[in-house]
Amino acid sequence: MTDSLLILVTKPPYGFEEAFSGLRAGLGALASGLVPTVNILMVGEGTLNAVAAQRPEAVRMPSNVEAVNDMLDFEAKVYVVREDLLRLVGDVPLLEGVEAIDWERARQVIEGHGMVTTF
């Protein structure tokens, strides 16, 4: 029995379907009412899913911004490992509502979930 699911997002947006799929899996779990706690942790290139300036319409892809906001609307936490983002692209603005954390905190977040699935 598992009452908490963490969606670990490692893939960047748009090139792969993965990050979008992960966010949608999270939304499905929350909407089901069967899994009380579902949160998102973006690491490595996955942190790019939280970049505020995304314009998915430029590649006519479904919006990862919308997918993140849908999770936030369901009161999920969306965590972004700040040091990974900084190393990749520098200090770019993030979507409102996401929480920038360090790896120490990220490990605590993982600890707080029964299941982890990677996208």
Binding site: M1, T2, D3, L5, E17, E18, S21, R24, A25, L27, G28, A29, A31, S32, L34, V35, M115, V116, T117, T118, F119
Partner: protein, 118 residues
């Protein structure tokens, strides 16, 4: 019964991920665990009826055999539609279902999640 949830996101002919999924499922069933498999993204191809990979292992047939031994297999309907896989094309005993109803149920009732993806 303790349950393993296998989430498979690779297509049947992309790599060996689906083969690993069925091998893990078989070993877990043999040990008396419950096993539930959810096909997501390209992973939905696992349940397509009529697979004929010639010299490669036929994961479709293996899945069917494991379903008879108690494996529950559900794949994402939205992903099936995206790939032109319609209801009625699934292997007998498997189901085209949803993230909300099925993957979530698997998570809630499961003990471990094995994610097979790249």
């Amino acid at each position: 019964m303790r349950t393993m949830v296998i989430q498979i996101r690779s297509g049947t002919m992309m790599n060996m991920d689906t083969n690993i999924a069925v091998k893990l499922a078989r070993a877990a069933l043999d040990k008396g665990y419950g096993v539930r498999m959810f096909g997501y993204g390209e992973g939905v191809t696992l349940i397509k009826k009529g697979q004929d990979p010639k010299r490669f292992p036929n994961v479709g047939n293996e899945t069917k055999e494991l379903v008879e031994k108690g494996l529950e297999v559900v794949v994402c309907e939205t992903c099936c539609k995206a790939r032109g896989i319609a209801r009625g094309e699934e292997i007998e005993g498997t189901k085209i279902g949803s993230l909300t109803n099925d993957l979530s149920r698997f998570v809630a009732e499961g003990d471990r999640m094995v994610t097979l993806a790249r």
